[in-house]
Amino acid sequence: MTLSRENLSPVLILGGRSDIGLACAHAFAAKGHPVQLAARKVASLQPEATDLGLRYAVPVSTHEFDVLDTAGHAGFLDSLPAAPGIVICAIGMMGEQEAGEMDFAAAAQVMRSNYEAPAAILGLIANRMEATGTGTIVGISSVAGDRGRATNYVYGSAKAGFTAFLSGLRNRLAKTGVHVVTVKPGFVATRMTDGMDLPAKLTAQPEELGAAVLKAVTRKRNVIYVRPVWALVMAIIRNIPEPVFKKLKL
């Protein structure tokens, strides 16, 4: 093997099956970082792990993880082969807005999967990183959290909570060596959006997310929109006066 690699810290992907999470894994593995993929039914992720190892000649491990099992979080972290220096949480669940309106159990599932449980695991990781004085946490939130809209406010409100949590965590840890990155994708062509008719110019490919997250981590960015045009789109949407906004179909 002629590949020379510095001693780079492992990157842990929570939601290792997610298209965005995997794209991040590729981006970091290409730089030489060992990869830890955590997901539900992780056995079926073996081909992804093999693929990453073959392409980038880095160690790749897989770990069973259900974010909703908050009682298991500490044990899960203890079981990792090495403490990750970078953690990327790509877990999320879109759900059906209408189901959430009719049935609070369905809404709660979306809220817990996008906010409560990811916040729990990232909070735990933050404490551990704070103790060592180093590390980076990346949360994949969403532009949907920037303003609640009739068509997906259950999901959006959970993402809003997650965004605020990440912001607070960043603020709390700013004086330590731990950095927190908030990623707000607009549309991304993934399994989550399969079959939707998305506008091409506003829709990122998962690889763009991988590259953007890598860059944001390297440059210690705080909040990024992907594609960047979404920062503008959301600035406009946030600034529409409520009396007007409430009558819009968005």
């Binding site: 093997m1 002629t2 081909p47 693929d51 073959l54 980038y56 399969d194």
Partner: protein, 440 residues
């Protein structure tokens, strides 16, 4: 979704799906009349189907690699660029590569692509150990020279019409460096160019850029480019320290469609004359990185836009050896007389190949592209006729406009291919705009 091939002609509204597992492909196959699509680098309508275009880029995992033998097993949607990125640093390079690295493994197999080393190493088929193909009933068959040899033979070069290629095993070649020793030799006319090819049978790589607007005594003037994988001893000290690493290239991009008038006989003629003069002056030996050598056009993203909104059509034929010289003379004469120039005219000597439906055969292949308009379409029909008169045939991965009758006259292997299509209901399960146009 409106799709086209790389030539952006024709364009077709297609229903597109992107499966990620055998089970998802199986569910699609049950609905019938599909065509697999790789990275859309074929020029015409081979990877288009209005009813069901199956985007195979969801099958993008590498599955295993044997560092002893260089055998790579991968899913069909893996890009050649990714294969090179992963394995060149470890001393392996594809045995056969087309002129762009933005193709998928499945697309290379289905078109049985050729590279600059066809005369020596053969087509893609030479590197393929086995393929796994899903048929119209959702059954997966492994096919190799020993197992299901008919399916193997027809799938290599079968343009996706035998089923969906899911996975394949290919052999890579060991290389000692990421560099190519290139030798450029100017040839003042066609006879000289062909003589150079014949004298260079031992060169690993050979190809010629041909000035298709030169006429009269200059007809067929070319820059013949030969290449060898460089050994570490060919490199200077700095490069020898990391022989398998070449600098990353900066990407340029063509951001929008050029207006239709940007390309005309004067601009193309001027470009070609300039390229010839520059090439002749800089002839000789040079050390070139793998990317610039094999994929010069990949450095310019979306270069297909320079032909404008209406798109362009490629013409690529191969002429049997004995008829090559008169045939090429007739083709080049017709093109020069029409004044419809092509920037990218490429001439190459093929070695012998015996295959069920692949394009290459022993002889000379000529590839050119033209902006699509009534004048060039008429010219292309005349080029078809000249090719037929000389016993040649056409590359379906490039074609967008040939007639079913022309194909029937060009290829005596057609009845066997059609029989394969008829058997087991393949024609019902797998169809593309190309197969409909050519009545396959």
């Amino acid at each position: 979704m409106i799709l086209s091939g790389w030539g952006r002609f024709p364009k077709l509204e297609c229903r597109v799906t992107r499966p990620r597992s055998d089970a998802e492909v199986r569910a699609l196959v049950a609905e019938g009349a599909l065509i697999a699509r790789g990275n859309g680098r074929s020029y015409g309508d081979a990877a288009l189907s209005a009813r069901g275009t199956v985007d195979m880029r969801g099958f993008s995992r590498m599955l295993s690699f044997d560092a002893e033998t260089g055998l790579l097993v991968a899913e069909a949607g893996v890009l050649l660029a990714d294969i090179i990125a992963a394995f060149l640093p470890r001393g392996w390079f594809p045995l056969v590569t087309p002129g762009t690295k933005f193709v998928t493994l499945g697309g290379m197999i289905a078109a049985d692509v050729h590279g600059k080393n066809h005369h020596k190493d053969g087509s893609m088929a030479a590197s393929v150990e086995w393929v796994e193909v899903m048929d119209g009933d959702g059954m997966v068959h492994r096919a190799s020279r020993a197992e299901n040899p008919d399916l193997f033979g027809f799938t290599l070069g079968g343009m996706g019409l035998t089923g969906i290629i899911l996975r394949a095993a290919i052999r890579l070649r060991p290389v000692q460096s990421a560099w190519i020793l290139q030798e450029t030799v100017p040839a003042p006319d066609l006879a000289a160019a062909m003589a150079l090819f014949e004298a260079s049978a031992e060169a690993t790589y050979s190809v010629a850029w041909i000035d298709c607007l030169a006429s009269g005594a200059n007809l067929g003037r070319s820059l013949v480019m030969l290449g060898e994988h460089a050994a570490p001893s060919d490199l200077d000290n700095r490069r020898r320290a990391r022989p398998l690493v070449a600098p990353a290239k900066r990407l340029l991009t063509v951001p929008f469609d050029a207006p239709g008038f940007a390309l005309n006989r004067y601009s193309v003629g001027a470009f070609n004359a300039l390229y010839w003069r520059k090439g002749r002056r800089s002839a000789g030996r040079a050390l070139v990185d793998w990317d610039s050598y094999f994929y010069p056009l990949d450095g310019i993203l979306h270069w297909n836009r320079i032909y404008g909104r209406k798109g362009f059509a490629q013409f690529q034929c191969v002429l049997p050896l004995a008829a090559s010289e008169p045939g090429l003379r007739a083709l080049l004469g017709e093109i020069a007389a029409s004044g419809q120039g092509s920037f990218l005219a490429v001439l190459k000597r093929f070695g012998a190949q015996d295959s069920r439906f692949s394009f290459p055969m022993e002889g000379y292949t000529l590839a050119l592209d033209f902006p699509v308009n009534p004048v060039t379409l008429a010219l292309l029909d005349r080029l078809d006729a000249i090719t037929l008169d000389h016993g040649g045939r056409f590359y379906l991965a490039k074609d967008a406009r040939m007639s079913a009758a022309t194909l029937r006259r060009a290829d005596p292997r057609l009845p066997a291919f059609l029989a394969m299509r008829a058997a087991e209901g393949r024609a019902r399960s797998f169809a593309s705009a190309l197969s409909e146009r050519l009545d396959l």
